[in-house]
């Protein structure tokens, strides 16, 4: 499993209950705004974080959302969602649209996150947890 270190990131939100999802969303929204993302992209990024935080809360109970700014040729925002929950048995199926293990859910979360962001990385081990890392580039017009 990939090791996520706090000191490599600019911001950390602990997900413990449903209200923390809103907190995570708000913080990433402010972060993206400061980085100069367009309104449409800010909405996409915070929606993606909302999905990731929701997954942490729903399946693992608790976990962390890490946020940082990557500066290279193009500025990008990187978000890592980490938990030590039950893990995902079939990762490939989980990122397909329509896959869900819980009743009343659309099963669009992870597949949606993949489409909302530019890059999508997932690693999961049963009984050890899940790491999802996503990035989005800031487009300059």
């Amino acid at each position: 499993m990939r090791d996520i270190k706090m000191e490599d990131y600019d911001m950390l939100v602990k997900i413990n209950d449903e209200r923390d999802i809103v907190v995570a969303r708000q913080m990433v929204k402010d972060f993206a705004k400061r980085m100069g993302f367009s309104l449409a992209d800010i909405t996409k990024i915070s929606t993606a974080v909302s999905e990731l935080a929701r997954n942490i809360f729903r399946y693992a109970g608790s976990g962390f959302i890490y946020i940082r700014e990557n500066t290279g040729e193009e500025k990008e925002i990187e978000i890592a969602a980490v938990d030590k929950g039950p893990g995902i048995e079939n990762v490939e199926a989980a990122v397909e649209a329509g896959f869900t293990t819980s009743k009343g859910s659309l099963g669009l979360g992870l597949s949606g996150v993949r489409r909302l962001m530019d890059s999508f990385f997932i690693e999961s081990e049963v009984n050890r947890g899940t790491v999802v890392i996503v990035t989005k580039r800031r487009r300059t017009f």
Binding site: V22, G104, S105, L116
Partner: protein, 234 residues
């Protein structure tokens, strides 16, 4: 023991002051303890003065303070009093939780008004962040309202919703389907451009309902279909 407390009052209060930074409340407590100890009103009196302490200080500080009194004053029932402190704190916490629960209910009602805006047309403007609890109570209230008013069209306006993820989207779809089962049309209005893009990426589809740009065109559409129905019936 009472005499002992009176004799040591100043030293005691000095010590207690060190722990909690205040001594007036402790003095009140010690006085009412001495007054009521061994009397019938003891339990009740203690409850009142302990409630004062609990309101003012941290529980851990109160425990330390009572320990200190117990060390100085022989026969002081520190354990007994501490048990009462916990009872009082329990009670206070319960009351606070009740207040929070009530406020939440008030908020849910405030945040989701349902308005009969025209004959057979109901408007439900959604405002703010929807969590599962609020979404649930809102859906229930809307369904009741639709059934009571025998409305033919519900306009759900999402101008005030900052973000629609798959949870909120899923909840809306469920609510729309339920409203349609009551024989009522649903019109959704006020989807912002950034949300529209996000919904498409997420794959959330509102194809079971009519989408209109804003409340105005939603209302125009709703009135036009209810009037047509009315004429057809005659």
């Amino acid at each position: 023991m009472k005499q002992k407390i009176v004799n040591n009052m100043d030293i005691l209060l000095e010590e207690l002051h060190k722990i909690t930074g205040r001594k007036a409340k402790w003095e009140e407590f010690l006085v009412s303890f001495m007054e009521s100890y061994d009397s019938d009103a003891y339990e009740k009196k203690m409850r009142d003065s302990l409630a004062n302490l609990v309101e003012e200080f941290k529980l851990s500080d109160i425990a330390r303070g009572l320990d200190r009194i117990g060390e100085k004053i022989e026969g002081f029932p520190a354990g007994e009093v501490l048990r009462q402190v916990l009872q009082v704190a329990d009670h206070a916490l319960e009351e606070k939780n009740m207040v929070i629960k009530e406020l939440k209910e008030v908020l849910a009602e405030l945040a989701t008004p349902t308005i009969r805006i025209w004959k057979d047309v109901v408007v439900a403007p959604l405002i703010g962040t929807l969590d599962s609890e609020r979404a649930q109570s809102m859906a229930e209230r809307l369904l009741e309202f639709v059934a009571d008013t025998r409305a033919k069209v519900v306009i759900v306006d999402v101008t005030g919703v900052p973000l629609i993820d798959t949870i909120v989207g899923g909840f809306l779809i469920e609510m729309f389907n339920a409203v349609k089962l009551l024989g009522c049309e649903v019109v959704i209005t006020g989807i912002k451009p950034s949300i529209a893009h996000t919904l498409v990426k997420l794959g959330v589809d509102f194809n079971m309902v009519t989408v209109k740009r804003d409340l105005e065109s939603g209302l125009r559409y709703a009135i036009s279909i209810t009037e047509k129905e009315g004429k057809g019936a005659v």
